[in-house]
Symmetry: C2
Subunit: 320 residues, 2 copies
Protein backbone atom coordinates (compact mmCIF):
# COMPACT_ATOMS: atom_id res chain seq x y z
CA UNK A 1 0.00 0.00 0.00
CA UNK A 2 1.86 3.13 -1.18
CA UNK A 3 2.17 6.12 1.10
CA UNK A 4 1.55 4.38 4.39
CA UNK A 5 3.99 4.11 7.25
CA UNK A 6 2.79 0.57 7.90
CA UNK A 7 4.34 -2.54 6.43
CA UNK A 8 2.90 -6.05 6.57
CA UNK A 9 6.21 -7.82 6.89
CA UNK A 10 7.13 -5.68 9.89
CA UNK A 11 3.75 -6.45 11.46
CA UNK A 12 4.30 -10.15 10.89
CA UNK A 13 7.75 -9.88 12.45
CA UNK A 14 6.23 -8.12 15.46
CA UNK A 15 4.49 -11.33 16.43
CA UNK A 16 7.86 -12.89 17.17
CA UNK A 17 8.75 -10.09 19.60
CA UNK A 18 5.52 -9.61 21.55
CA UNK A 19 5.08 -11.82 24.63
CA UNK A 20 2.68 -14.58 23.49
CA UNK A 21 0.43 -13.84 26.46
CA UNK A 22 -0.87 -10.86 24.48
CA UNK A 23 -1.24 -12.65 21.13
CA UNK A 24 -3.96 -14.88 19.71
CA UNK A 25 -6.61 -13.38 21.91
CA UNK A 26 -10.06 -14.99 21.88
CA UNK A 27 -12.21 -14.40 18.81
CA UNK A 28 -15.70 -15.86 18.97
CA UNK A 29 -19.22 -15.40 17.80
CA UNK A 30 -21.53 -14.08 20.49
CA UNK A 31 -25.02 -15.10 19.43
CA UNK A 32 -26.61 -13.88 22.65
CA UNK A 33 -25.93 -10.30 21.54
CA UNK A 34 -27.45 -10.75 18.14
CA UNK A 35 -31.21 -10.40 18.78
CA UNK A 36 -30.55 -6.91 20.13
CA UNK A 37 -28.22 -5.95 17.29
CA UNK A 38 -29.76 -7.53 14.21
CA UNK A 39 -26.50 -8.84 12.81
CA UNK A 40 -23.96 -11.59 13.44
CA UNK A 41 -21.45 -10.36 16.00
CA UNK A 42 -18.03 -11.73 16.82
CA UNK A 43 -15.91 -10.45 19.65
CA UNK A 44 -12.15 -10.04 19.56
CA UNK A 45 -11.35 -9.96 23.25
CA UNK A 46 -8.29 -7.95 24.22
CA UNK A 47 -8.92 -7.90 27.96
CA UNK A 48 -7.85 -11.38 29.08
CA UNK A 49 -4.20 -10.55 29.73
CA UNK A 50 -2.10 -9.03 32.51
CA UNK A 51 -2.89 -5.42 31.58
CA UNK A 52 -6.50 -5.84 30.44
CA UNK A 53 -6.09 -3.99 27.16
CA UNK A 54 -4.54 -4.39 23.69
CA UNK A 55 -1.87 -1.77 24.38
CA UNK A 56 0.82 -4.20 25.45
CA UNK A 57 1.07 -5.49 21.88
CA UNK A 58 2.69 -2.16 21.08
CA UNK A 59 4.64 -1.58 24.28
CA UNK A 60 6.22 -5.00 23.93
CA UNK A 61 7.77 -3.80 20.67
CA UNK A 62 8.87 -0.49 22.14
CA UNK A 63 10.37 -1.96 25.29
CA UNK A 64 12.09 -4.74 23.43
CA UNK A 65 13.70 -2.28 21.04
CA UNK A 66 14.83 -0.04 23.88
CA UNK A 67 16.28 -2.94 25.86
CA UNK A 68 18.09 -4.22 22.76
CA UNK A 69 19.61 -0.78 22.32
CA UNK A 70 20.71 -0.52 25.93
CA UNK A 71 18.29 2.24 26.90
CA UNK A 72 17.55 2.50 30.59
CA UNK A 73 14.47 4.71 30.74
CA UNK A 74 11.35 5.66 28.83
CA UNK A 75 8.46 8.05 29.29
CA UNK A 76 4.97 8.26 27.83
CA UNK A 77 1.77 10.20 28.23
CA UNK A 78 -1.23 7.98 28.70
CA UNK A 79 -4.93 7.96 29.36
CA UNK A 80 -4.10 4.92 31.47
CA UNK A 81 -3.88 1.83 29.31
CA UNK A 82 -0.70 2.69 27.42
CA UNK A 83 1.00 3.60 30.67
CA UNK A 84 -0.02 0.36 32.32
CA UNK A 85 1.17 -1.63 29.32
CA UNK A 86 4.48 0.25 29.08
CA UNK A 87 5.01 -0.27 32.81
CA UNK A 88 4.44 -4.02 32.37
CA UNK A 89 6.66 -4.35 29.31
CA UNK A 90 9.36 -2.09 30.77
CA UNK A 91 9.46 -3.81 34.15
CA UNK A 92 10.19 -7.14 32.52
CA UNK A 93 13.15 -5.61 30.70
CA UNK A 94 14.61 -3.55 33.53
CA UNK A 95 13.52 -0.19 32.14
CA UNK A 96 12.80 2.82 34.32
CA UNK A 97 9.29 3.80 33.16
CA UNK A 98 7.67 7.17 33.71
CA UNK A 99 4.02 7.71 32.86
CA UNK A 100 2.33 11.09 32.69
CA UNK A 101 -1.43 11.06 33.04
CA UNK A 102 -4.24 13.44 33.74
CA UNK A 103 -5.25 13.62 37.37
CA UNK A 104 -8.79 12.90 36.20
CA UNK A 105 -7.89 9.52 34.65
CA UNK A 106 -9.69 6.50 36.14
CA UNK A 107 -8.18 5.66 39.53
CA UNK A 108 -8.09 1.98 38.59
CA UNK A 109 -5.73 2.73 35.71
CA UNK A 110 -3.50 4.98 37.79
CA UNK A 111 -3.33 2.44 40.62
CA UNK A 112 -2.22 -0.29 38.24
CA UNK A 113 0.50 1.92 36.73
CA UNK A 114 1.90 2.52 40.23
CA UNK A 115 1.59 -1.15 41.15
CA UNK A 116 3.69 -2.05 38.13
CA UNK A 117 6.59 -0.01 39.54
CA UNK A 118 6.35 2.92 37.10
CA UNK A 119 6.83 6.52 38.20
CA UNK A 120 3.47 8.20 37.76
CA UNK A 121 3.28 11.94 37.23
CA UNK A 122 -0.16 13.53 37.29
CA UNK A 123 -1.07 16.76 35.52
CA UNK A 124 -4.09 19.00 35.63
CA UNK A 125 -5.74 19.02 32.24
CA UNK A 126 -6.36 16.28 29.72
CA UNK A 127 -4.32 13.88 27.60
CA UNK A 128 -2.95 16.73 25.48
CA UNK A 129 -1.53 18.40 28.59
CA UNK A 130 -0.02 15.08 29.59
CA UNK A 131 1.55 14.73 26.14
CA UNK A 132 3.25 18.10 26.45
CA UNK A 133 4.54 17.27 29.92
CA UNK A 134 5.85 13.85 28.81
CA UNK A 135 7.69 15.48 25.92
CA UNK A 136 9.27 17.96 28.31
CA UNK A 137 10.44 15.14 30.58
CA UNK A 138 11.90 13.27 27.64
CA UNK A 139 13.84 16.35 26.52
CA UNK A 140 15.08 17.17 29.99
CA UNK A 141 16.17 13.63 30.87
CA UNK A 142 17.26 12.73 27.37
CA UNK A 143 15.16 9.59 27.32
CA UNK A 144 12.88 8.03 24.77
CA UNK A 145 9.38 9.48 24.54
CA UNK A 146 6.78 6.94 23.45
CA UNK A 147 4.09 8.70 21.49
CA UNK A 148 0.99 6.63 21.04
CA UNK A 149 -0.08 6.35 17.38
CA UNK A 150 2.83 8.47 16.15
CA UNK A 151 5.42 5.85 17.11
CA UNK A 152 5.10 3.16 14.52
CA UNK A 153 5.60 0.36 17.07
CA UNK A 154 2.32 1.28 18.74
CA UNK A 155 0.55 0.90 15.38
CA UNK A 156 2.42 -2.28 14.44
CA UNK A 157 1.61 -3.87 17.78
CA UNK A 158 -2.08 -3.14 17.39
CA UNK A 159 -1.88 -4.32 13.78
CA UNK A 160 -1.15 -7.87 14.96
CA UNK A 161 -4.82 -7.96 15.99
CA UNK A 162 -5.63 -7.42 12.33
CA UNK A 163 -3.46 -10.36 11.29
CA UNK A 164 -5.31 -12.58 13.74
CA UNK A 165 -8.65 -11.39 12.41
CA UNK A 166 -7.80 -12.20 8.82
CA UNK A 167 -6.59 -15.67 9.78
CA UNK A 168 -9.92 -16.52 11.38
CA UNK A 169 -12.56 -18.64 9.72
CA UNK A 170 -15.26 -17.92 8.85
CA UNK A 171 -14.49 -14.53 7.48
CA UNK A 172 -16.57 -11.48 8.30
CA UNK A 173 -17.93 -8.43 6.54
CA UNK A 174 -16.81 -5.53 8.70
CA UNK A 175 -14.57 -4.75 11.64
CA UNK A 176 -15.45 -2.05 14.14
CA UNK A 177 -12.45 -0.35 15.75
CA UNK A 178 -12.38 2.19 18.55
CA UNK A 179 -10.78 5.39 17.28
CA UNK A 180 -8.64 7.57 19.53
CA UNK A 181 -5.19 8.61 18.44
CA UNK A 182 -5.43 6.08 15.65
CA UNK A 183 -2.84 3.39 16.46
CA UNK A 184 -5.39 0.60 16.57
CA UNK A 185 -7.45 1.87 13.65
CA UNK A 186 -4.50 2.38 11.32
CA UNK A 187 -2.71 -0.80 12.43
CA UNK A 188 -5.67 -3.15 12.31
CA UNK A 189 -6.99 -1.37 9.24
CA UNK A 190 -3.72 -1.86 7.37
CA UNK A 191 -3.49 -5.56 8.18
CA UNK A 192 -7.13 -6.15 7.28
CA UNK A 193 -7.11 -4.11 4.07
CA UNK A 194 -3.88 -5.74 2.89
CA UNK A 195 -4.93 -9.29 3.59
CA UNK A 196 -8.72 -9.08 3.21
CA UNK A 197 -9.52 -5.97 1.18
CA UNK A 198 -13.21 -6.84 0.98
CA UNK A 199 -13.70 -6.36 4.71
CA UNK A 200 -15.07 -2.98 5.66
CA UNK A 201 -12.90 -1.09 8.19
CA UNK A 202 -15.05 1.16 10.35
CA UNK A 203 -13.68 3.42 13.06
CA UNK A 204 -15.86 4.58 15.89
CA UNK A 205 -15.33 7.61 18.08
CA UNK A 206 -17.50 9.36 20.70
CA UNK A 207 -19.33 12.51 19.62
CA UNK A 208 -17.78 14.06 22.75
CA UNK A 209 -14.21 13.54 21.45
CA UNK A 210 -14.57 13.65 17.67
CA UNK A 211 -11.27 15.15 16.51
CA UNK A 212 -9.85 12.22 14.55
CA UNK A 213 -13.19 11.17 13.05
CA UNK A 214 -13.83 14.72 11.87
CA UNK A 215 -10.31 14.89 10.52
CA UNK A 216 -10.92 11.69 8.55
CA UNK A 217 -14.13 13.10 7.06
CA UNK A 218 -12.52 16.43 6.15
CA UNK A 219 -9.24 14.80 5.05
CA UNK A 220 -7.27 17.34 7.11
CA UNK A 221 -6.39 17.67 10.76
CA UNK A 222 -9.27 19.08 12.79
CA UNK A 223 -8.57 19.85 16.44
CA UNK A 224 -11.13 20.43 19.15
CA UNK A 225 -11.10 22.55 22.29
CA UNK A 226 -12.56 20.20 24.83
CA UNK A 227 -13.44 16.61 25.59
CA UNK A 228 -16.79 15.44 26.86
CA UNK A 229 -17.04 11.66 26.97
CA UNK A 230 -16.81 8.80 29.45
CA UNK A 231 -14.66 6.96 26.90
CA UNK A 232 -11.41 8.16 28.45
CA UNK A 233 -9.29 5.77 26.38
CA UNK A 234 -10.04 7.48 23.07
CA UNK A 235 -10.32 11.08 24.22
CA UNK A 236 -7.80 13.16 22.28
CA UNK A 237 -8.09 16.61 20.77
CA UNK A 238 -5.02 16.95 18.52
CA UNK A 239 -4.84 14.33 15.76
CA UNK A 240 -1.34 13.58 14.47
CA UNK A 241 -1.00 14.37 10.72
CA UNK A 242 1.01 11.25 9.85
CA UNK A 243 -1.54 9.04 11.58
CA UNK A 244 -4.41 10.71 9.79
CA UNK A 245 -2.63 10.08 6.49
CA UNK A 246 -2.38 6.38 7.32
CA UNK A 247 -5.98 6.28 8.44
CA UNK A 248 -7.22 7.85 5.20
CA UNK A 249 -5.69 4.91 3.32
CA UNK A 250 -7.44 2.14 5.24
CA UNK A 251 -10.66 3.35 6.89
CA UNK A 252 -13.95 3.03 5.03
CA UNK A 253 -15.79 5.18 7.53
CA UNK A 254 -15.45 7.00 10.84
CA UNK A 255 -18.67 6.95 12.83
CA UNK A 256 -19.47 9.18 15.80
CA UNK A 257 -21.68 7.80 18.57
CA UNK A 258 -23.57 9.26 21.50
CA UNK A 259 -22.71 8.67 25.15
CA UNK A 260 -26.06 6.94 25.71
CA UNK A 261 -25.18 4.42 23.02
CA UNK A 262 -21.79 3.73 24.61
CA UNK A 263 -23.52 3.02 27.91
CA UNK A 264 -26.11 0.84 26.17
CA UNK A 265 -23.25 -1.04 24.53
CA UNK A 266 -21.53 -1.61 27.87
CA UNK A 267 -24.78 -2.88 29.30
CA UNK A 268 -25.40 -5.28 26.41
CA UNK A 269 -21.87 -6.67 26.69
CA UNK A 270 -22.42 -7.27 30.40
CA UNK A 271 -25.90 -8.75 30.10
CA UNK A 272 -25.46 -10.89 27.00
CA UNK A 273 -21.74 -11.55 26.80
CA UNK A 274 -20.80 -11.49 30.49
CA UNK A 275 -18.08 -8.97 29.74
CA UNK A 276 -17.03 -5.98 31.81
CA UNK A 277 -15.63 -3.43 29.38
CA UNK A 278 -14.42 0.12 29.60
CA UNK A 279 -16.40 2.67 27.60
CA UNK A 280 -13.95 2.74 24.67
CA UNK A 281 -14.44 -1.00 24.23
CA UNK A 282 -18.19 -0.56 23.75
CA UNK A 283 -17.86 1.88 20.84
CA UNK A 284 -18.36 -0.87 18.26
CA UNK A 285 -21.60 -2.07 19.80
CA UNK A 286 -22.71 1.56 20.10
CA UNK A 287 -22.10 2.00 16.37
CA UNK A 288 -24.28 -1.00 15.56
CA UNK A 289 -27.04 0.29 17.85
CA UNK A 290 -27.06 3.62 16.00
CA UNK A 291 -26.80 2.12 12.51
CA UNK A 292 -28.93 -1.02 12.56
CA UNK A 293 -29.89 -0.91 8.90
CA UNK A 294 -26.33 -0.59 7.79
CA UNK A 295 -25.24 -3.74 9.59
CA UNK A 296 -28.44 -5.80 9.33
CA UNK A 297 -27.73 -9.39 8.39
CA UNK A 298 -23.99 -8.87 8.11
CA UNK A 299 -21.20 -10.45 10.17
CA UNK A 300 -19.41 -7.82 12.20
CA UNK A 301 -16.35 -8.14 14.43
CA UNK A 302 -15.89 -5.69 17.26
CA UNK A 303 -12.60 -5.38 19.10
CA UNK A 304 -13.20 -5.29 22.84
CA UNK A 305 -10.04 -3.34 23.51
CA UNK A 306 -9.96 -2.80 27.28
CA UNK A 307 -11.65 -3.52 30.60
CA UNK A 308 -9.92 -1.09 32.96
CA UNK A 309 -12.79 0.67 34.68
CA UNK A 310 -13.40 2.20 38.07
CA UNK A 311 -15.88 -0.28 39.47
CA UNK A 312 -18.10 2.34 41.10
CA UNK A 313 -18.41 4.31 37.88
CA UNK A 314 -19.04 1.08 36.00
CA UNK A 315 -21.87 0.12 38.34
CA UNK A 316 -23.45 3.53 37.86
CA UNK A 317 -23.24 3.23 34.09
CA UNK A 318 -24.71 -0.24 33.76
CA UNK A 319 -27.36 0.08 36.50
CA UNK A 320 -30.85 0.29 35.03
CA UNK B 1 -1.48 -44.20 36.31
CA UNK B 2 -2.98 -47.61 37.15
CA UNK B 3 -6.66 -47.93 38.00
CA UNK B 4 -7.87 -44.73 36.39
CA UNK B 5 -10.33 -44.45 33.54
CA UNK B 6 -8.31 -41.57 32.14
CA UNK B 7 -5.54 -41.88 29.58
CA UNK B 8 -3.10 -39.16 28.54
CA UNK B 9 -2.87 -40.22 24.91
CA UNK B 10 -6.65 -40.07 24.57
CA UNK B 11 -6.64 -36.60 26.16
CA UNK B 12 -3.97 -35.47 23.73
CA UNK B 13 -5.99 -36.89 20.84
CA UNK B 14 -9.04 -34.99 22.08
CA UNK B 15 -7.37 -31.73 21.16
CA UNK B 16 -7.58 -32.68 17.51
CA UNK B 17 -11.36 -33.18 17.75
CA UNK B 18 -12.47 -30.20 19.84
CA UNK B 19 -13.26 -27.00 17.90
CA UNK B 20 -10.17 -24.80 18.40
CA UNK B 21 -12.42 -21.97 19.59
CA UNK B 22 -12.58 -23.78 22.95
CA UNK B 23 -8.89 -24.63 23.20
CA UNK B 24 -5.85 -22.65 24.35
CA UNK B 25 -7.93 -20.38 26.53
CA UNK B 26 -6.19 -17.41 28.15
CA UNK B 27 -3.86 -18.15 31.05
CA UNK B 28 -2.35 -15.12 32.72
CA UNK B 29 -1.07 -13.79 35.98
CA UNK B 30 -3.46 -11.37 37.64
CA UNK B 31 -1.32 -9.27 39.97
CA UNK B 32 -4.17 -6.94 40.88
CA UNK B 33 -5.78 -9.79 42.83
CA UNK B 34 -2.66 -10.62 44.76
CA UNK B 35 -2.60 -8.02 47.57
CA UNK B 36 -5.99 -9.36 48.70
CA UNK B 37 -4.95 -13.00 48.43
CA UNK B 38 -1.34 -13.07 49.59
CA UNK B 39 -0.11 -15.34 46.84
CA UNK B 40 0.67 -15.23 43.12
CA UNK B 41 -2.52 -15.92 41.18
CA UNK B 42 -2.93 -16.94 37.57
CA UNK B 43 -6.28 -17.24 35.87
CA UNK B 44 -7.21 -19.90 33.35
CA UNK B 45 -10.16 -18.25 31.65
CA UNK B 46 -12.78 -20.63 30.26
CA UNK B 47 -15.46 -18.04 29.61
CA UNK B 48 -14.28 -16.34 26.41
CA UNK B 49 -16.02 -18.69 24.00
CA UNK B 50 -19.47 -19.13 22.45
CA UNK B 51 -20.92 -20.96 25.47
CA UNK B 52 -19.10 -19.13 28.26
CA UNK B 53 -17.92 -22.24 30.09
CA UNK B 54 -15.40 -25.08 29.77
CA UNK B 55 -18.11 -27.66 29.12
CA UNK B 56 -17.88 -27.56 25.33
CA UNK B 57 -14.46 -29.18 25.49
CA UNK B 58 -16.32 -32.34 26.52
CA UNK B 59 -19.44 -31.97 24.41
CA UNK B 60 -17.32 -31.51 21.31
CA UNK B 61 -15.96 -35.01 21.87
CA UNK B 62 -19.39 -36.47 22.57
CA UNK B 63 -21.10 -34.83 19.61
CA UNK B 64 -18.27 -35.66 17.26
CA UNK B 65 -18.40 -39.33 18.25
CA UNK B 66 -22.17 -39.44 17.86
CA UNK B 67 -22.05 -37.78 14.46
CA UNK B 68 -19.31 -40.14 13.30
CA UNK B 69 -21.49 -43.08 14.34
CA UNK B 70 -24.55 -41.74 12.56
CA UNK B 71 -26.55 -40.99 15.70
CA UNK B 72 -29.34 -38.47 15.26
CA UNK B 73 -30.21 -37.49 18.80
CA UNK B 74 -28.79 -37.10 22.29
CA UNK B 75 -30.09 -36.17 25.71
CA UNK B 76 -28.44 -34.90 28.90
CA UNK B 77 -29.33 -33.58 32.29
CA UNK B 78 -27.67 -30.29 33.07
CA UNK B 79 -27.41 -27.54 35.61
CA UNK B 80 -27.21 -25.34 32.53
CA UNK B 81 -23.68 -25.22 31.21
CA UNK B 82 -23.44 -28.80 29.94
CA UNK B 83 -26.79 -28.40 28.22
CA UNK B 84 -25.73 -25.18 26.54
CA UNK B 85 -22.47 -26.74 25.40
CA UNK B 86 -24.15 -29.91 24.12
CA UNK B 87 -26.70 -27.79 22.28
CA UNK B 88 -23.87 -25.85 20.61
CA UNK B 89 -21.82 -28.92 19.70
CA UNK B 90 -24.88 -30.89 18.59
CA UNK B 91 -26.32 -28.10 16.45
CA UNK B 92 -23.11 -27.91 14.45
CA UNK B 93 -23.33 -31.62 13.70
CA UNK B 94 -27.03 -31.88 12.96
CA UNK B 95 -27.94 -33.65 16.19
CA UNK B 96 -31.35 -33.38 17.83
CA UNK B 97 -30.40 -32.30 21.38
CA UNK B 98 -32.66 -32.60 24.42
CA UNK B 99 -31.63 -31.04 27.71
CA UNK B 100 -33.34 -31.74 31.02
CA UNK B 101 -32.83 -29.10 33.69
CA UNK B 102 -34.30 -28.06 37.00
CA UNK B 103 -36.93 -25.36 36.72
CA UNK B 104 -34.88 -23.44 39.29
CA UNK B 105 -31.75 -23.28 37.10
CA UNK B 106 -30.58 -19.76 36.17
CA UNK B 107 -32.86 -18.30 33.50
CA UNK B 108 -29.83 -17.12 31.54
CA UNK B 109 -28.63 -20.69 31.13
CA UNK B 110 -32.08 -21.99 30.16
CA UNK B 111 -32.58 -19.17 27.65
CA UNK B 112 -29.28 -19.96 25.95
CA UNK B 113 -30.12 -23.67 25.70
CA UNK B 114 -33.38 -22.80 23.95
CA UNK B 115 -31.67 -20.24 21.72
CA UNK B 116 -29.25 -22.92 20.53
CA UNK B 117 -32.18 -24.94 19.17
CA UNK B 118 -32.19 -27.65 21.84
CA UNK B 119 -35.40 -29.06 23.27
CA UNK B 120 -35.48 -28.03 26.90
CA UNK B 121 -37.45 -30.06 29.41
CA UNK B 122 -37.83 -28.62 32.89
CA UNK B 123 -38.40 -30.68 36.03
CA UNK B 124 -39.30 -29.80 39.57
CA UNK B 125 -36.47 -30.74 41.87
CA UNK B 126 -32.72 -30.50 41.47
CA UNK B 127 -30.01 -31.87 39.19
CA UNK B 128 -30.52 -35.41 40.52
CA UNK B 129 -34.20 -35.29 39.49
CA UNK B 130 -33.11 -34.03 36.09
CA UNK B 131 -30.63 -36.90 35.77
CA UNK B 132 -33.39 -39.45 36.41
CA UNK B 133 -35.67 -37.81 33.87
CA UNK B 134 -32.93 -37.62 31.23
CA UNK B 135 -32.18 -41.32 31.73
CA UNK B 136 -35.86 -42.14 31.27
CA UNK B 137 -35.98 -40.12 28.03
CA UNK B 138 -32.89 -41.89 26.74
CA UNK B 139 -34.42 -45.31 27.45
CA UNK B 140 -37.80 -44.44 25.93
CA UNK B 141 -36.38 -42.87 22.78
CA UNK B 142 -33.42 -45.20 22.51
CA UNK B 143 -30.95 -42.35 22.24
CA UNK B 144 -27.59 -41.63 23.82
CA UNK B 145 -27.66 -40.28 27.34
CA UNK B 146 -24.71 -38.02 28.11
CA UNK B 147 -23.85 -38.35 31.77
CA UNK B 148 -21.56 -35.59 33.00
CA UNK B 149 -18.45 -36.93 34.74
CA UNK B 150 -19.47 -40.58 34.22
CA UNK B 151 -19.03 -40.38 30.46
CA UNK B 152 -15.32 -40.38 29.90
CA UNK B 153 -15.52 -37.82 27.07
CA UNK B 154 -16.70 -35.18 29.54
CA UNK B 155 -13.62 -35.85 31.66
CA UNK B 156 -11.25 -36.05 28.70
CA UNK B 157 -12.57 -32.78 27.31
CA UNK B 158 -12.00 -31.01 30.62
CA UNK B 159 -8.61 -32.69 30.88
CA UNK B 160 -7.37 -30.72 27.88
CA UNK B 161 -7.34 -27.71 30.24
CA UNK B 162 -4.81 -29.64 32.29
CA UNK B 163 -2.59 -30.19 29.26
CA UNK B 164 -2.61 -26.47 28.56
CA UNK B 165 -1.73 -25.70 32.17
CA UNK B 166 1.29 -27.98 32.16
CA UNK B 167 2.54 -26.48 28.91
CA UNK B 168 2.56 -22.98 30.39
CA UNK B 169 5.67 -21.23 31.59
CA UNK B 170 6.41 -20.37 34.31
CA UNK B 171 5.09 -23.35 36.17
CA UNK B 172 2.96 -23.05 39.28
CA UNK B 173 2.60 -24.72 42.64
CA UNK B 174 -1.09 -25.58 42.86
CA UNK B 175 -4.22 -25.66 40.74
CA UNK B 176 -7.64 -24.94 42.20
CA UNK B 177 -10.50 -26.74 40.49
CA UNK B 178 -14.23 -26.36 41.09
CA UNK B 179 -15.63 -29.71 42.17
CA UNK B 180 -19.13 -30.81 41.20
CA UNK B 181 -19.68 -34.16 39.56
CA UNK B 182 -15.94 -34.43 39.11
CA UNK B 183 -15.34 -34.28 35.34
CA UNK B 184 -13.12 -31.22 35.55
CA UNK B 185 -11.35 -32.27 38.74
CA UNK B 186 -10.55 -35.78 37.56
CA UNK B 187 -9.70 -34.70 34.02
CA UNK B 188 -7.51 -31.72 34.86
CA UNK B 189 -6.11 -33.58 37.84
CA UNK B 190 -5.07 -36.52 35.70
CA UNK B 191 -3.34 -34.38 33.10
CA UNK B 192 -1.56 -32.30 35.72
CA UNK B 193 -0.49 -35.23 37.91
CA UNK B 194 0.78 -37.17 34.91
CA UNK B 195 2.75 -34.33 33.38
CA UNK B 196 3.65 -32.25 36.43
CA UNK B 197 3.34 -34.48 39.51
CA UNK B 198 4.77 -31.81 41.80
CA UNK B 199 1.79 -29.52 41.27
CA UNK B 200 -0.82 -29.75 44.01
CA UNK B 201 -4.32 -30.55 42.73
CA UNK B 202 -6.92 -29.03 45.01
CA UNK B 203 -10.67 -29.40 44.48
CA UNK B 204 -13.09 -26.88 45.91
CA UNK B 205 -16.76 -27.44 46.62
CA UNK B 206 -19.37 -25.36 48.46
CA UNK B 207 -20.25 -26.37 52.02
CA UNK B 208 -23.85 -26.27 50.83
CA UNK B 209 -23.27 -29.05 48.26
CA UNK B 210 -20.45 -31.11 49.77
CA UNK B 211 -21.21 -34.65 48.56
CA UNK B 212 -18.16 -35.27 46.37
CA UNK B 213 -15.70 -33.52 48.70
CA UNK B 214 -16.98 -35.56 51.65
CA UNK B 215 -16.78 -38.69 49.53
CA UNK B 216 -13.15 -37.91 48.73
CA UNK B 217 -12.31 -37.43 52.41
CA UNK B 218 -14.10 -40.64 53.46
CA UNK B 219 -12.88 -42.59 50.41
CA UNK B 220 -16.42 -43.87 49.79
CA UNK B 221 -19.52 -42.40 48.19
CA UNK B 222 -21.35 -40.07 50.55
CA UNK B 223 -24.69 -38.73 49.36
CA UNK B 224 -26.58 -35.76 50.75
CA UNK B 225 -30.26 -34.98 51.02
CA UNK B 226 -30.36 -31.39 49.92
CA UNK B 227 -28.45 -28.59 48.21
CA UNK B 228 -27.99 -25.13 49.64
CA UNK B 229 -25.61 -23.05 47.53
CA UNK B 230 -25.67 -20.32 44.90
CA UNK B 231 -23.02 -22.31 43.01
CA UNK B 232 -25.58 -24.07 40.82
CA UNK B 233 -22.96 -25.47 38.47
CA UNK B 234 -21.43 -27.79 41.07
CA UNK B 235 -24.53 -28.68 43.05
CA UNK B 236 -24.91 -32.47 43.00
CA UNK B 237 -25.95 -34.87 45.73
CA UNK B 238 -25.09 -38.33 44.35
CA UNK B 239 -21.41 -38.79 43.50
CA UNK B 240 -20.66 -41.42 40.87
CA UNK B 241 -18.47 -44.24 42.25
CA UNK B 242 -16.22 -44.52 39.18
CA UNK B 243 -15.59 -40.77 39.22
CA UNK B 244 -14.74 -40.83 42.91
CA UNK B 245 -12.25 -43.62 42.24
CA UNK B 246 -10.55 -41.47 39.60
CA UNK B 247 -10.60 -38.45 41.88
CA UNK B 248 -8.94 -40.36 44.72
CA UNK B 249 -5.98 -41.01 42.44
CA UNK B 250 -5.29 -37.38 41.51
CA UNK B 251 -6.63 -34.94 44.10
CA UNK B 252 -4.41 -33.79 46.94
CA UNK B 253 -7.27 -32.21 48.79
CA UNK B 254 -10.94 -31.34 48.60
CA UNK B 255 -11.76 -28.08 50.34
CA UNK B 256 -15.24 -26.91 51.34
CA UNK B 257 -15.98 -23.18 51.31
CA UNK B 258 -18.72 -20.96 52.68
CA UNK B 259 -21.22 -19.04 50.57
CA UNK B 260 -19.87 -15.72 51.87
CA UNK B 261 -16.43 -16.64 50.55
CA UNK B 262 -17.84 -17.53 47.13
CA UNK B 263 -19.50 -14.12 46.96
CA UNK B 264 -16.30 -12.42 48.14
CA UNK B 265 -14.46 -14.30 45.40
CA UNK B 266 -16.91 -13.13 42.74
CA UNK B 267 -16.50 -9.58 43.96
CA UNK B 268 -12.70 -9.72 43.90
CA UNK B 269 -12.74 -11.13 40.37
CA UNK B 270 -14.99 -8.28 39.28
CA UNK B 271 -13.14 -5.50 41.07
CA UNK B 272 -9.55 -6.56 40.44
CA UNK B 273 -9.72 -8.75 37.34
CA UNK B 274 -12.69 -7.20 35.53
CA UNK B 275 -14.29 -10.61 35.24
CA UNK B 276 -17.94 -11.53 35.58
CA UNK B 277 -18.03 -15.11 36.80
CA UNK B 278 -20.70 -17.50 37.94
CA UNK B 279 -20.45 -18.67 41.56
CA UNK B 280 -18.80 -22.00 40.68
CA UNK B 281 -16.00 -20.11 38.96
CA UNK B 282 -15.18 -18.23 42.16
CA UNK B 283 -14.63 -21.36 44.26
CA UNK B 284 -10.86 -21.23 43.81
CA UNK B 285 -10.61 -17.65 45.03
CA UNK B 286 -12.93 -18.55 47.90
CA UNK B 287 -10.56 -21.36 48.88
CA UNK B 288 -7.60 -18.98 48.98
CA UNK B 289 -9.57 -16.51 51.08
CA UNK B 290 -10.34 -19.22 53.63
CA UNK B 291 -6.82 -20.70 53.64
CA UNK B 292 -4.43 -17.78 53.35
CA UNK B 293 -1.60 -19.39 55.27
CA UNK B 294 -1.69 -22.47 53.13
CA UNK B 295 -1.23 -20.54 49.91
CA UNK B 296 0.92 -17.65 51.16
CA UNK B 297 3.77 -16.90 48.80
CA UNK B 298 2.91 -19.70 46.40
CA UNK B 299 1.83 -19.49 42.76
CA UNK B 300 -1.72 -20.73 42.35
CA UNK B 301 -3.79 -21.20 39.19
CA UNK B 302 -7.54 -21.02 39.44
CA UNK B 303 -9.76 -22.18 36.60
CA UNK B 304 -12.48 -19.62 35.93
CA UNK B 305 -14.84 -22.20 34.53
CA UNK B 306 -18.00 -20.29 33.62
CA UNK B 307 -19.68 -16.89 33.42
CA UNK B 308 -23.32 -17.77 32.84
CA UNK B 309 -25.18 -15.79 35.48
CA UNK B 310 -28.55 -14.15 35.79
CA UNK B 311 -27.50 -10.52 35.75
CA UNK B 312 -29.96 -9.44 38.43
CA UNK B 313 -28.74 -12.11 40.84
CA UNK B 314 -25.17 -11.22 39.98
CA UNK B 315 -25.73 -7.55 40.78
CA UNK B 316 -27.24 -8.52 44.13
CA UNK B 317 -24.27 -10.73 44.95
CA UNK B 318 -21.54 -8.27 44.09
CA UNK B 319 -23.25 -5.12 45.43
CA UNK B 320 -21.60 -3.88 48.58
Amino acid sequence: MPGTRLDLSRIEAARRVIDPIFLDSPLYRCEALEPDLGCAVSIKLETANPVRSFKARGTELVASLLADNGAGAVVCASAGNLGQALAWSGRGRGLDVTVVAARSAPAAKLDRIRALDARLELVDGDIETARERAAAIARRRGIRLVEDSLDIETCEGAATIGLELTEAAPSFDAVLIALGGGAMATGVGHAVKTRAPGVEVICVQPLGAPAMARSWHERRVVTTDSIDTIADGVAGRHPIPAVLDDLLLVADDAILVREASIIAGMRLLLEHAGLVVEPSAALGIAAILENRDRFAGRHVVTIVCGSNVDVDAYHRWVAR
